[in-house]
Amino acid sequence: MTMRVPNIMNNAQSMLDLQRIKQMYSQTVQQLTTGKQIVNVGDDPAASAQIQNYQSSVDLNTQYINQADTATAQMQSTSTVLTSLGTSVDRALSLAQIGLSTNNGGAGAAEVDSIRTNLISVANTQLQGKYIFAGTKTTTVPFLDNVPATGTTPQSVTYQGNSGLINLDLGVSSTVTTNIPGDSLFFGPGGQGSATDLLAQVTAVRDALTSGDNVALQTAYTNLQAVRTRIGVAETDMGGRENGVTALQTSLSDFNANLGAQQTKVEAVDYPTAITALNQESVAQQASLSAMSKTYQKSLFDYLA
């Protein structure tokens, strides 16, 4: 059958079609200028949700990567201090050994005393304004040298920090301890004043060298050797933690790169496709405009004289 096509109907239909083409055209232009596939919230809710989920994961991982940076910085400074601590103890050990072999250690006593002072200042190291060996009482000077009023050499220290551990979260269920509390590092398992107390043993070496008491010097030397081993272990432990954090950081970065790639796949506009679409829409727009101008031109009236 033949359908009547009145003029008004032609107008309405072609105007609607033209509007649609223009709308698609503007959408494609927006995609190209923003570089994003999804321009409005309602364009593709499923993809929008996916993008948001990727974005949340990436953000969270980035947060953990930044935490790992801070943790690494804190642990690295602890490691550096541990190395210099080891060097000082090594020097004290060799001075004690000289004292033992020559039976005349008096000369070394002064140097050991300065090593002791140096150790205390190392124990009070600050990083970004906080004492790294004070446990969690990071704003308190941890080691106070008890200088006797009489002017004799100081014998003991007071520990003003605590045994608190500082943990940082590097993932939903992974934490790293970034500090070594001063009491456990310097006093050891035996506690303050015991055979495992670094400062007490250095003090003992100094006093034995001063007094020439070889028996006491031998005991202090042996104890200090054990303490030196403990510092070495602590250094290795810190290094191990640092490596662990770096490995975690690398895997988080890799994971983020993957997530980012996935997100881009959903989010970013595919330029060749979009440009092709833009061309097609532009051609379609021109074609419909030209068709419309042809349709509106003529009716039978034009041919009746």
């Binding site: 309602g42 969270l60 969690t136 990071t138």
Partner: protein, 497 residues
């Protein structure tokens, strides 16, 4: 027997038929662009014949009626489709208007701000002694709140503007129903059914306009009058000669939103929420269901987040004072609508349920914390500056399950915050897409129906030209016939004279 005078009459009837038909064609052409116009056509019939003995002579032609070509069924379908189309378009536009508040480009947006707030706490956990990092937490908390407030304001503004549109639609609806009722009267008073062609077209046009404004159902009674009721059937707008007026009044029980009712004599029927189609129905849906739904979710998220953070902050200890070395126990981090005793959203004494409504407008970062960021309780022990255990707990809220109280019972029952925010954004997006798809589909349907309708009723210039030509020739021929008869008559006169 047929005589010359009678033949003149036949010629005259030919002239008249051609003239009247051309006048109908002229009317059609004049109305080619009149919206809703149905093309008319002259119905030509043969005059009664005269018998002379056993001979039967014709007496010419006449235009018996001027009929309009229309399909009433199609007309009503177009009306219905317009109703659905404008409903879906209005809903889609209303959602698009607020969609920008739920956009997240990774640098701005709700999710990003929530994430940045928790990131600032985690950074603080690495250096809880640091005053500038504490200041940063305060700053991030404030920008997170302003993001929430921005989204909430966009929604409330849109609700207000939707309400105004509801108020503005009613006078227009009343004008239309009054006009339709008046046309109903005119149409029913015409003795001849075809006499009211133009009024019928005009009424259809007004009915279509009315359908775009408000969801309606249309039926015709025995007098060819339109009976118009609301799409839910809740009230009648036009019945025969009578139009029932709609009225708006601010409803103090609904935050002074407009209540719409239909007045019928002494009865006043409340039709708020009882209209689905048209812009009015869609705006009611937007104002009372869709937008408040988004707002409620947003308030639940913000209220739950503030409550969770407060609870953890209250369990910890502040940064020790530089002078005394003493800490204070944790305070509220967020105030305004929050219960100082529990830290969570204040509970309605009557219902016993937390009051989330409007919480975003009230929420602010505790002024005491703004003045002294040291009050952020990073430490889990008193007097210890470097302890970060409580800050870690606070940062861990970011991934905590059962974070948001989505069912208003005071206990969390959802996934982590980011999931709930994403779900809300996804919900907005899905509804925006749903209504925009429906609107496009309805637009297609309306266009298809209108195409069909205009295929029946539209004026076509080509056929008008052809008809005009035919009647022009008919007129010329009839005129020629009259002139011939006239010549014959005068010849006869001369011969006899």
């Amino acid at each position: 027997m047929a005589n010359l005078t009678a033949s003149l009459g036949i010629g005259l009837s030919g002239l008249q038929v051609a003239q009247e038909s051309m006048s109908v064609i002229g009317h059609n052409i004049a109305n080619i662009n009149t919206p809703g116009y149905s093309q008319q056509s002259a119905v030509i019939s043969t005059n009664p014949s005269q018998e002379f003995g056993n001979l039967v002579f014709g007496t010419g032609a006449n235009v018996s009626t001027v009929g309009a070509l229309r399909n009433q069924f199609l007309n009503l379908q177009v009306t219905q489709s317009l109703c659905n189309q404008s409903g879906a378009e209005t809903r889609s536009n209303g959602i698009q208007a607020v969609a920008s508040a739920f956009k997240d480009d990774g640098t701005n947006g709700l999710n990003t701000q929530v994430q940045k707030f928790f990131a600032s706490i985690q950074t603080l956990a690495a250096n809880p002694e640091d005053a500038s990092l504490r200041q940063n937490v305060v700053g991030m908390a404030q920008s997170m709140l302003s993001e929430f407030k921005g989204a909430s304001t966009t929604l409330t503004d849109q609700i207000t503007s939707t309400n105004q549109q509801i108020g503005a639609a009613v006078p227009e609806i009343n004008t239309l129903t009054t006009q339709i009722a008046a046309l109903n009267t005119q149409i029913s008073q015409q003795l001849h059914p075809d006499a009211a062609n133009d009024s019928i077209d005009q009424r259809q046009q007004l009915t279509d306009k009315l359908a775009s404004l408000v969801g309606i159902q249309v039926s015709t009674n025995s007098l060819n009058q339109y009976q118009i009721t609301l799409d839910s059937g809740a009230a009648t707008l036009v019945s025969g000669n009578t139009a029932y007026q709609m009225a708006v009044a601010a409803d103090p029980l609904q935050g002074n939103n407009f209540k719409v009712s239909v007045i019928s004599g002494a009865t006043n029927t409340d039709v708020t929420g009882k209209i689905t189609g048209g812009t009015l129905g869609a705006n009611m849906d937007l104002r009372d269901n869709i937008l408040p739904g988004y707002l409620a979710s947003l308030n639940q998220i913000a209220g739950s987040l503030a409550g969770e953070v407060n609870k953890v902050n209250m369990a910890g200890y502040s940064l020790p004072s530089a002078t005394t070395g003493l800490s204070t126990t944790g305070t509220l981090l967020f105030t305004g609508g929050m219960d100082p005793a529990t830290g969570t959203v204040s509970v309605d004494p009557v219902t016993g349920k937390p009051v989330y409504a409007g919480i975003i407008e009230n929420l602010k970062v505790n002024a005491a914390v703004v003045a002294n960021p040291g009050l952020i309780a990073a430490s889990s022990a008193t007097g210890i500056a470097g302890d970060n255990a409580n800050a870690l707990k606070m940062a861990a809220l970011q991934t905590k399950l059962l974070a948001v109280d989505t069912d208003n019972d005071g206990a969390g029952d959802s996934g982590p915050f980011s999931t709930v925010v994403n779900a809300l954004m996804n919900n907005v997006g899905t509804q925006a897409q749903e209504f925009s798809t429906t609107a496009t589909n309805q637009e297609n349907l309306t266009t298809a129906l209108q195409t069909q309708k205009s295929s029946v009723s539209g004026v076509d210039l080509d056929s008008s030209a052809a008809q005009l030509l035919a009647f022009q020739q008919g007129y010329q021929a009839a005129a020629h016939f009259i002139s011939t008869i006239s010549q014959l008559t005068s010849q006869l006169m001369q011969a006899l004279g």
